[in-house]
Point group: C2
Chain length 425, copies 2
């Protein structure tokens, strides 16, 4: 748009990699685990650089995640980005959904199915691959439950770079075709996502993959930061306010922690006032893969891996990397976690579609079903403003509802047939 | 966004309905054919009202089609809209696609798969249903080849209004489920789209459908205007310039005529300078349904209906309502038309995906394949800036490419298996 400015931001505000376990710092590089304690790393920022960011600067930026470039570890220079320009997806007002489930305060659906490859993964991939190119990587890869595969393959196609994507062999057809069509290498693994992930952790150490950035392995700290943009956008779209409650689906658990991190940063750097009662973060899992919610329910912060089952395949990470951090976030903010079984997930997809016009993939069904449970159980305050996150597109998981919905009438093309079918009263 | 203004525009600039055949004018109402000559009607505007519109006013508007409300027949007041807020979809630079097909000038893909229900139909439905509500209709309907069905059902769901959608019985599963999930009535007709359309023309005259707006029948003049927003956006996204060449898929032929109308209006009202050599409009059909292109190739402006076949179902209108107008537009601007067979369509989808990261439905494959033919035949100037329109989403027509693409490797989850498969050099 001619009305916006997408000029290079001076430099990255990222300062170091810091261990989430022991706090040791490392220089910015393609490193994902602490050399001291093997804990996961995340990006640490220069507080002075973050404090210089203004609302006006963000609002004048491009209509995508890069308006927040001054709060991200990479992508400050538009010319250096590897991106499909995701983000600034709709925040949909959902009064009919609120009424249906007994919420009496404003309810919003943050609809990330509107991203270029129709899931929130475009955000994390854009940040990871932009960082990866800056670090000298020339080939792009991932271990994926599906949406990430779509996104990495599409990003690589637009950038003209080779890609190699690893998926479990039993993925939904929508996600397989939507990766393969971009023409990179696509490796189906005879095993679960956790098996795929383990193999990628081994491949990344080989000489043959030295030039390859696995977005969620060796450049994971950058990748994870991309999820912060979901939190930034919700706050900006609410008129620079943080909602009282958010309900977020969990696979690795990382999305949930990063939305919370985004809210905290906005308050710290003075872009948003802290809401009086703080904000509560709620997590949603599928009953077929609920290790994080189960640990929380058991009063533990130790997540015991499970073998995932069920239709919410994009959430089927049985050994979630950020599970303990998700529990910490939910506990600290006064939220809760719950999970939904396959029938509840299907009903959640339909309820969301019928009340908002948003057709979600199974992960969205999980989140809506869990929202409903949290209201019913009294864990979620029905009088407080709530944002629920839909992270993917119903077209990718058609089978979930294909047996439940269809034409209400089948007739021949005549007025008489329409009358016989009751369409004319 | 807090940086934009979505305040009511004073009043609609629409002045009357005017017959495209004989020029007779009628008051604005739910009328779609001329009482004098039975010709189709379109919206006539107050030139003084259009002339008051400024670039600054548009640029300060919302990030969707309603930024152009002052150039549309309905939707001036945000509170009165029936809408999913479509539009402002990406204009994607496509240098690798240009190189692959021998274009040596800038090539852009206007990617309307980014709309809320992932086709350009959200634009026309938003304008049609907003006008319809203003005219007093309480139920929303359409005859559809699929994308329109998705859009009408989703719009009705968000608006909390009843819907009744008529589709041919053999539609792609993706389009059936994505309509049915919204919970309205969905009537599958044992016949072609043209049969469906005829039945709807009869139903609209019955007492039982008196309260029902068929977006592409009784409120068609409003509906068609929604397509103008595609032309406005392309010009604005190019920095208020009109490209030398546009390539547009044709079903009824109306989209093509309205993009041309949008360009003409922008020049007339002074928002854009007329390009030195004008602009050329090119039309794309599927070989299985090519009545408009065939008429042009035969030097005729009489479109002889056909019985459609082939995989590009969203373009399968055998008796296209605006065919003669499309021929007039293409002839007047010095463009041309061509068509692509099913294999060429599939190859077009893959070529677009691999070079741009955009996964199109079959209609997009048609357009890319025809673009390629137009360059090869010399009809399209390879030295002139070109915009090609992708009107829909690949996820809705997965079957088109599902047999052609898939995993490149299938292995067990071990380094040894990866080595045996050649993944380690």
């Amino acid at each position: 748009m001619t009305s916006t400015v997408d000029a290079p931001v001076s430099t990255s505000p990222a300062r170091a990699l810091v261990c989430r376990g022991c706090g040791t710092e490392f220089p910015l590089a393609a490193q994902h685990a602490c050399y001291e304690c093997f804990g996961p790393l995340e990006i640490a920022y220069d507080p002075a650089a973050l404090a210089r960011v203004t609302r006006a600067q963000i609002e004048a930026g491009p209509q995508n995640i890069w308006r927040y470039a001054a709060l991200l570890p990479a992508g400050q220079d538009p010319a250096e980005r590897v991106t499909l320009d995701p983000g600034l997806t709709p925040l949909v007002s959902a009064p009919a959904l609120a009424a249906a489930i007994g919420l009496r305060a404003p309810l919003w659906v943050k609809d990330d199915s509107a991203n270029p490859t129709h899931s929130f993964k475009d955000r994390v991939v854009s940040v990871a691959l932009t960082a990866a190119r800056g670090l000298g990587f020339t080939r792009f890869a991932c271990a994926s439950t599906g949406n990430l595969a779509n996104s990495v393959a599409a990003h690589a196609a637009r950038a003209g770079a080779p890609s190699v994507v690893f998926i479990p062999g039993d993925l939904e057809a929508g996600k397989v075709v939507t990766t393969a069509v971009y023409g990179g290498q696509l490796v189906a693994i005879d095993g679960s996502y956790d098996d795929v992930n383990r193999l990628c952790s081994e491949l990344v150490e080989t000489d043959e993959f030295e030039d390859t950035a696995f977005v969620n392995v060796n450049v994971r700290p950058y990748y994870a930061e991309g999820s912060k943009t979901l939190g930034y956008e919700v706050a900006e779209q609410l008129g620079w306010r943080i909602p009282a409650q958010v309900v977020i689906p969990m696979a690795s658990g990382e999305l949930l922690t990063k939305v919370d991190k985004a809210f905290s940063e906005l308050v710290e750097v003075g872009l948003v006032e802290a809401p009086a009662g703080g904000w509560k973060v709620f997590g949603a899992q599928s009953a077929g893969c609920n290790p994080i919610a189960t640990a929380l329910h058991n009063g533990s912060d130790t997540v015991i891996p499970v073998k995932p089952t069920g239709i919410a395949k994009s959430l089927n990470i049985g050994d979630p990397a950020a599970g303990a951090y998700a529990i910490e976030t939910v506990t600290r903010t006064g939220g809760w976690m719950d999970y939904a079984d396959d029938d509840e997930i299907r009903a959640g997809i339909e309820l969301l579609a019928r009340t908002t016009g948003v057709f979600a993939e199974t992960a969205g069904g999980v989140t809506v079903a869990v929202l409903q449970k949290l209201v019913a159980s009294g864990r979620l305050d029905p009088e407080a403003e709530t944002v629920v996150f839909n992270t993917g597109e119903g077209l990718k998981t058609l089978d979930a509802v294909a047996d439940r919905v269809g034409p209400t009438h089948r007739i021949k093309p005549s007025l008489r047939a329409a009358r016989d079918a009751g369409l004319l009263g």
